[in-house]
């Protein structure tokens, strides 16, 4: 991992506008941005650590703590909002015991609220590990989270 990180730094050295791509690729590598990695990026890009941290904290994509094994994104776009996304939050909280923005104690799930996944015609939707589950109800989502319902059963109306 450390080797891959050094190779990454080498690859992007001197490239115009390299800060954000470096942060993105580093996060891909480690799952989050360890403090030491940001110091290294600062060194390579010739910026201060504060500048790098400033950029990283500005964008929603970057995180500074490890993620859970599974990442669940509950969509709160306009269409999902008017179709009842709030009640999905209730179900998730009830099933997993965490509020959006947090990771379960066992490190299994990280739950996030996102602004819009762009699948508005299937609202309300939730994305789990990159896969979108649409036309949800509280009941359906509960089953998905419990691992009872498979994808096929979940996406039906």
């Amino acid at each position: 991992m450390e080797k891959a990180f050094q190779a990454l730094l080498e690859d992007w050295k001197g490239v115009k506008g390299n800060v954000i791509p470096l942060l993105q690729k580093t996060q891909e590598l480690f799952g989050f941005l360890p403090e030491e990695s940001m110091r290294e990026i600062a060194r390579v890009t010739g910026k201060t650590t504060a500048e790098i941290y400033g950029v990283a904290t500005f964008y929603a994509q970057f995180r500074f703590t490890p993620m859970g094994k599974h990442v669940m994104k509950v969509c709160h776009g306009t269409a999902c909002h008017v179709q009842g996304a709030d009640s999905l939050d209730t179900v998730v909280e009830q099933k997993l015991g965490v509020k959006p923005g947090n990771t379960t104690a066992d490190g299994e799930f990280t739950v996030e609220r996102v602004a819009c996944l762009g699948c508005c015609s299937l609202a309300p939707v939730v994305m789990i590990d990159g896969e979108v589950y649409g036309r949800l109800t509280g009941d359906k989502l509960g089953k998905i989270v419990s691992g009872v319902g498979a994808k096929a059963g979940a996406s039906k109306t």
């Binding site: 950029v55 179900v91 015609s121 509280g138």
Partner: protein, 593 residues
């Protein structure tokens, strides 16, 4: 005549989410098992998202048949009935005169759902790169801009600035760095909007061709596509497209043997709504915090890395090849006096037939919602349509006959916007909608301007209080005062337009605000603090379903006996209401709750 018989499956993000991949695999398996003379192909968004997954059968004789809501079993039926036996499966067929499609006019989406977006050959077979070739070999840069001006094309990102004039500024600008940049804004951040994603996923080459034509016209040799990281499939298809262009000398040095050279980069956004603002977007490409800066100087004079830059939205660029092919004059025949061409919308919310639509400018909102969209889900009462996301506003039912053009929509207090169109019915609370958008803006404000940073926070606090039944008479006046100040004291479009959802709902739905404040009543039964759930004992069968789903055990009772809901522990999540099969749960709102 389509020489090759094909079965095309709509494989955009939402198609895949609805199960298109399973259908694709099933079709591939069955077609090969039976040895049928059809190739199963993936295509972009066919547009009728409400009927996803969609499958189109294209017979060798040129006839096409569209199937909706296909699943594995239906895929098998289509293979057996249509592909093998030759009889279209009538029950599953979407009729050719389907009203959803009849009123649309496809220019930008002409190839979406028709070609395989990962095949440059198919793009070329559908007039792809004809416009670029014409531009490079027959037209001067000024002549290109002249055509764009003649077309009347205005920015499809929502503000509606004349594209031809914008290009002129960039062309005339003197570069101190020796560089000029062409940038595509694909940071589609409005919640409820997915037009740009569908275009990039369904026809990436059209956008790239448009950018190349622009680069030639303004004198640029380097371009950037700034795409949201939330759109992985769009990014993947763009990367494929760029590789194919390089292989065919459509990118790189001396393109198509001319003196025009161009390189292109894809930049992934990192999740900041404000980066849809052009100066913030450029800051982000440079690797900084995406914070807007004062204009002028405009990007056309000093943009990316201090060089003159032209920045347009995805849909704007996607219009350009068609304009060059048909000529600006011909393009301008569609639309109204000041708004030419077509506009792509993402139709969603409480509508029967949602999806990606492209309509000629000048169509009315009513036609879109009722003729194309088929009206409101469950035939409930249409209340409003939200346009333009957090920068836009809600157009009420009584103004539904307004025409879709930049100026008429602006007059309603909403805006054309980038194309998000979320339909709302009587079960949508307009105060809650205003609060929703303000909460969005508040968390996305970059914090540079005081009024945007703090003013929106104060407005959000007031709206939250109103939805929680703690509103006071004076709140409305304070909201209006703050709204006016946030508008004039913010540097960029995000802050300047942030109060729009509040102002339009106040303008058209003032009685709902008053109802919340005076009667502590939410007529749409949406605001949790103002509603209560009760079991209708006469209807309840005691099936225990509500008790099972209730997260706080507020709904309780014995089997086969009417249940009840304990008001002290009820959190108004609505799961019991959703679960009850006998309509035995009632929601009420008003004083005394």
């Amino acid at each position: 005549m389509n020489a090759r018989a094909e079965v095309a499956v709509g494989m955009s993000s939402c198609g895949i989410a609805a199960g298109a991949r399973v259908v694709f695999d099933q079709l591939t398996k069955d077609v090969s098992a039976r040895g049928l003379p059809f190739s199963v192909v993936a295509t972009g968004c066919i547009g009728a998202c409400h009927a996803e997954p969609l499958v189109e059968v294209r017979q060798a004789d040129g006839r096409t048949f569209l199937y909706g809501n296909v699943d594995e079993a239906r895929a098998q039926a289509i293979v057996a009935g249509h592909l093998q036996a030759g009889t279209p499966v009538a029950d599953l067929l979407i009729p050719a005169d389907y009203p959803y499609l009849a009123k649309q006019k496809r220019v930008v989406l002409a190839n979406c759902g028709v070609i395989d977006p990962e095949s440059i050959e198919q793009y070329i077979a559908h007039d792809g790169y004809v416009a670029l070739k014409k531009v490079l070999t027959e037209l001067t840069p000024d002549a290109v801009i002249e055509q764009v001006k003649l077309s009347g094309l205005r920015g499809r990102g929502g503000a509606g600035f004349s594209t031809g004039i914008k290009w002129t500024f960039a062309r005339d600008a003197k570069s101190l760095t020796g560089k000029k940049y062409v940038i595509c804004n694909a940071d589609e951040g409005d919640p409820g909007a997915f037009m740009d994603r569908s275009v990039l996923e369904g026809d990436p080459h059209a956008v790239l061709e448009g950018m190349l034509i622009c680069a030639y016209a303004v004198g640029s040799d380097e371009g950037y596509l700034y795409v949201r990281a939330e759109y992985p499939l769009a990014i993947k298809r763009l990367q494929i497209a760029l590789r194919q262009m390089e292989e065919r000398n459509l990118l790189g040095s001396r393109i198509l043997g001319t003196s025009f050279s161009f390189t292109m980069h894809i930049k992934e956004g990192a999740g900041a709504f404000v980066c849809g603002e052009e100066t913030a977007l450029m800051g982000s490409i440079e690797g900084k915090r995406g914070m807007p800066r004062l204009r002028p100087p405009f990007p056309a004079v000093r943009g990316l890395w201090d060089s003159p830059s032209n920045i347009n939205n995805v849909e704007t660029y996607a219009n350009v090849p068609a304009i060059i092919r048909m000529g600006g004059k011909e393009y301008a025949k569609t639309g109204t006096e000041k708004s030419k061409g077509t506009k792509v919308f993402a139709l969603a919310g409480k509508i029967k037939r949602g999806g990606m639509i492209e309509v000629p400018m000048g169509i009315s909102l009513r036609e879109i919602i009722f003729d194309i969209g088929g009206g409101i889900l469950g035939d409930r009462k249409f209340k409003a349509v939200q346009m333009g996301g957090p920068s836009g506003g809600c157009v009420p039912e009584q103004l539904a006959d307004v025409l879709v053009d930049y100026d008429s929509l602006t007059a309603t207090g909403a805006i054309m916007g980038s194309g998000g169109m979320v339909v709302m019915d009587e079960s949508t609370c307009m105060v809650d909608v205003a609060r929703y958008f303000l909460a969005f803006i508040q968390s996305e404000s970059c914090g540079k301007c005081t009024f945007c940073r703090i003013g929106t926070k104060r407005m959000l606090e007031i709206l939250t209080r109103i939805t929680e039944g703690e509103g006071e008479e004076k709140d409305i006046a304070v909201l209006e005062e703050l709204a006016a100040k946030v508008k004039v004291s913010s540097l960029c479009g995000l802050g300047q337009t942030a109060p729009n959802p509040v102002l339009t709902t106040l303008r058209y739905f003032r009685s709902e605000y008053d109802d919340h404040i005076r009667n502590k009543r939410c007529a749409a039964k949406k605001c949790k603090a103002l509603i209560r759930y009760d079991v209708l004992t006469a209807t309840c069968t005691g099936c225990m379903l509500c008790a099972k789903v209730c997260p706080t055990k507020a709904a309780h009772g014995e089997r086969k006996k009417p249940h009840e809901i304990d008001q002290d522990t009820c959190i108004q999540c609505g799961l019991c209401f959703e679960a009850c099969r006998f309509s035995a749960i009632e929601i009420s709102s008003g004083r005394g709750n």
